[in-house]
Symmetry: C2
Subunit: 249 residues, 2 copies
């Protein structure tokens, strides 16, 4: 068996999220269907670095799968892209060592969240940004971001619906917020993220940007370990899994 | 009765074109449904500057309608946007004189066509550009554009399926082609365009860009007044109705 690692991009708009579900169109479902065709009917399971929710996009998600076939990496890329609809694109296929696992070998993930801060709605961006027409103080949001960097318990910024049992301590290496024309782009880079964490972080930071909270309130929210303390969950369509980083193998 | 002129923008992806059709989602159908709600059940007909096909976008299309209601223009804009889904946006509403007609008063139309000239497919742009991965000589296409400017019979660049009887003579004030990073943007400004004309112009210019035709061949194609002489119809999703220009009223 060979292990194949792929870097993929997808527009999350027309998917019920990443994870396979019966009777729903999912990223995993579409790629596994393509893999099954390539394997002449044999089911092949794929493993992602992590799931993404309905409407969430990926500029560079990583997956792996094992195969009895002997194809070169360019042929894997071509065969999969030929079978997939155009809202998923296999950017790269590589051979990976047996020890590689898309989820467990990941060292770092990077997410971007794009807010379009314009008074008028733009119909072309509706599925790709959060259109927020009100004034935002980016300097205040930048200041608030600094309180997120480092190792913290992010219970307050994880969905109360999360059933995950383990530790909610994560390390954020970078949390930034920049204005680029009418776009406000949030970047989060860390060793892992809890369910809905980036969207709750953004929802809370937007309240800072509107003057509803002080930047320093982020410390208090973290300390309370209570989802009720943080802001709304920002909508899915502004969120992009931007990159997944692995160590040298 | 008051006449209201609106400048609207729409993402053509999820519409079966502009014109109302039974059992299909169309731009006209959606706006007329909203107008009917505002008029408490009374059907209101709207008139566009012209139709657009399925998948074709509008950055600034113009429509008008007549109404017995007395609303200020900001209220028209708000009421319509509140009822419409987010793939149509009313950018501006204005009161227009009785003599105004969105189609017959139009002096000039501008279309843009966007080609994404990159080797790798981009899933986020699939509905908004024509993804063309092969080499394009933009200088040759610019040169070819010059042959299109002026007053010509555009029979060779109109769909053979067109049932329009009248003259196929149109004046193109501007035909240009520019590279902007990996995008190649075609701009056409003229006093009117025939059915599929912009898409056939682009399909033919792309053949010039690939070296399959000489720039000067455009003159011969025009002279022959025969659709068989021109190139393929470029796909709908790269086409934008960019602006409609009216005289001072």
């Amino acid at each position: 068996m060979e292990k194949i690692k792929c870097t993929i991009s997808y527009d999350g708009t027309n998917f019920s999220g990443f994870q396979i579900q019966p009777h729903k169109r999912t990223v995993q479902g579409e790629i596994e269907k393509a893999l099954q065709k390539i394997h002449k009917g044999q089911a092949i399971r794929l493993y992602p670095s992590g799931r993404t929710d309905a409407g969430v996009h990926a500029v560079a998600q990583t997956i792996h799968f094992e195969t009895p076939l002997q194809l070169d990496v360019e042929s894997w890329k071509k065969a999969l892209n030929a079978l997939l609809k155009k809202d998923i694109y296999i950017k790269q296929a590589e051979k990976a060592p047996a020890s590689f696992h898309a989820r467990f070998s990941a060292l770092e993930k990077e997410y971007h969240y794009i807010v379009l801060n314009e008074a008028e709605l733009n119909p072309f961006r509706r599925n790709y940004v959060y259109q927020f027409p009100y004034y935002l103080n980016v300097l205040k949001m930048e200041e608030a971001c600094k309180y997120l960097e480092g190792k913290h318990d992010f219970t307050s910024f994880s969905s109360a619906r999360s059933t995950a049992k383990g530790s909610k301590v994560r390390t954020i290496y970078e949390a930034t917020c920049k204005r680029n024309g009418s776009e406000v782009i949030f970047t989060f880079r860390g060793n892992g993220f809890l369910y809905h964490m980036v969207r709750i972080l953004v929802g809370t930071l937007l309240e800072v940007g509107q003057g509803k909270r002080e930047p320093s309130s982020i410390s208090d929210i973290l300390a309370k370990k209570d989802r009720q303390q943080s802001g709304k969950t920002a909508p899915a369509q502004g969120l992009y899994l931007w990159n997944v980083i692995y160590g040298a193998e």
